[in-house]
Amino acid sequence: MNRRTVSALLGALVLAAIAIGYGVFTGTRAQPAVAYEALNISPGPRILFRSTAAESKGHVAMVSAVDPGAARAVSKLECLRVAAAAGSGICLRPDGPLATFQAAILDADLTVTREIPLVGVPNRTRLSGDGRLVAWTVFVAGDSYNNGRFSTRAGLVDLTTGDMIDSLEFLAVVVDGRPYTAADLNFWGITFAADDNTFYATMSTDGRRYLVRGDIAAKTVRTIAQNVECPSLSADGKRIAFKSAVDGDPAKGWRLSVLDLASGVRTPLAETRSVDDQPAWLDSNTIGYAVSRGGGDADIWAVPSDGSGSPRLLVPHAESPAALG
């Protein structure tokens, strides 16, 4: 062996030692043990969420809606995103080491009753009020052919009939009343109306982001407003909480608002920080949402839905809120 080969081998050894050593080190960042409890997600005054606290990170947890500051009950179930309604739930989670995920359908005891494979990284999820329809948004990327650019796919399934819409891209799209075809359609953030047929979502094309209203039976989506992202329909079906890019430019961050569907009036909420989350209706007067602390940690905050008051910290070290009551 000449000197160059020896140098290369030595270098390889040192670099391998660094890589392996660091990998082993990540294993020593041990999670303190936490006592898991059997949770029940049937309707009641409780808030379900995903814990981001160090000792229970990734686990589904619950607090009382009346006393959210009290100790949380932590389940053994781990999810990336969680939602619940009418005694059933959905948990988006990995089903392999990378890139493949699943929507796990849960019953009231958080037992997995069905697994729907997803390709792409989960980002948003919602159920219809009666728990019959389930929606998800995933990010698709990681293929070098699109230069690392990201696109989203939003899909939904009717748990009763099994009818699935793989991706909203396959529906007939109508923009400003005209049929529309484009290659750059992206959808995300589905929310359902009470009729189990109407849904709302965000659609982006040509640099614009629209609020769309979808009709599952007719397989159509129509644009109804601009610069409305991650919509969340109130229980009475009259208002939509959403985030909108400041000055229409996502680089400037997002502001939370509520849109009155009948009048089209938008009410900015008292939260002035940038919120990058799909808001959730905690009750008919309160919006819940996560604010990132960085490093995968976040807090759930609450703010009145009429633009009054000020934001208050609801559950620290938590995200993905869903009101069960």
């Binding site: 160059r4 990378l98 990681g142 293929d143 052919y145 699109n146 696109s151 075809t181 995300w188 490093g295």
Partner: protein, 428 residues
Amino acid sequence: MSTIDRPHSGGDDATPSRRKAFFLLSGNVFALGAVSLVTDISSEMMTAVLPVYLVVGLHLSPAAYGVVDGTYTGATALLRLIGGYVADLTRRRKFIAGLGYGLSAVAKLGMPAAGSAVGAIGAVIAVDRTGKGLRTAPRDALITLSTPPRLYGRAFGVHRTMDTIGAFVGPLVAIGILAATAQAYDAVFVASFCIAAFGVLILVLFVRDHRDEQPVNGAVSPRSLGGLIRLTPVRRLVAAACLAGLVTIGDGFVYLLLQQREHLSVSWFPLLAVGTNLSYLVLATPLGVLADKIGRLTVVLGGYTALVLVYLLLFGPFGGTALLVVVLALYGLFYAATDGVLMALAGPVLPKALRTTGIALIQTGQALSYLVSSVLFGLAWTLWGPANASRVAAALVAVAVVVIAVLLRGVQTAGTAEDVAEAAEEHA
């Protein structure tokens, strides 16, 4: 490792008998191939993990991605040109290539350091792309300078094959690390950095620069740069590269059209790229060898003819699994017949003193016109629907084949002339 452990076989001075043992190519080509292979493992690890990291780890939303993605392409295109010129000017192509590889390596560590700050993540990705922009032209110039002109096709074929092997291995390594460390993304970033650093080490230890063969100072100056562009063959090459970029609609669109046409489940989508890469991997070396035998222009034109077939088949009379296999095989063949072979075609035409600049010019022209074509095809899709848009694209590529043939026929003759001159130089 044995193929790169040939300290004195690099360059044009390798004896024919030693070359024969390794596809007739010099050790330097294999060393550069090994650097690319290792670097691609590292960069594809990142590509595979980044979306999961950004969404699951940092909770970024689609629009935030747009911000992360940014529009660095224009800036890196300019940097590529500047890098090429500086590499020629300082006669330190290995150094500039190494700088590019090094920047990308450091960027891997920047990712965990950036935390969840969107701006910092964007900056890290910009550094990574700057590194890629800097290194490509000097690397390709070094390949030509380490190979006799009659073997350029073979040299680029072997290099691109090794490169693609790395692209296959990368995601698997990332999956392995995530599985072993319970989803520790930072462990993937650190390992990716270590692998990239190993690539730089191979470059430093085993790649030979070609500084001493450079002409004296003054041969590379802004004035000579103008002279380069005034050379008819160079102008024609750049024009052909731009035209080629302009009629290529982009992989994303091809896969999207296949998916819609065949109503593929979305889970198929990643596999389409794998199929193309597999075809590219298998065909790059044989087509490079063939290009040296029957003419590089012939193979390039054959590649674009395969592209015409791909675009036509997208909405042709055939369907089913057979269509998928044929389209992906042809699509890989298109890349194998054009990517490296175009560089092999350009090599002899570009004067040695300005070879890196010339290669950067061709690659930048192709990349920028490719950007334009993506926008135009998006518009065509919206106006005419996918079927008509892809047929128009096929017609445009067919026209481009004829134009490129006319443009480059003379260029190839000029190349042959320089072949003779260079061969004489070698034997002097």
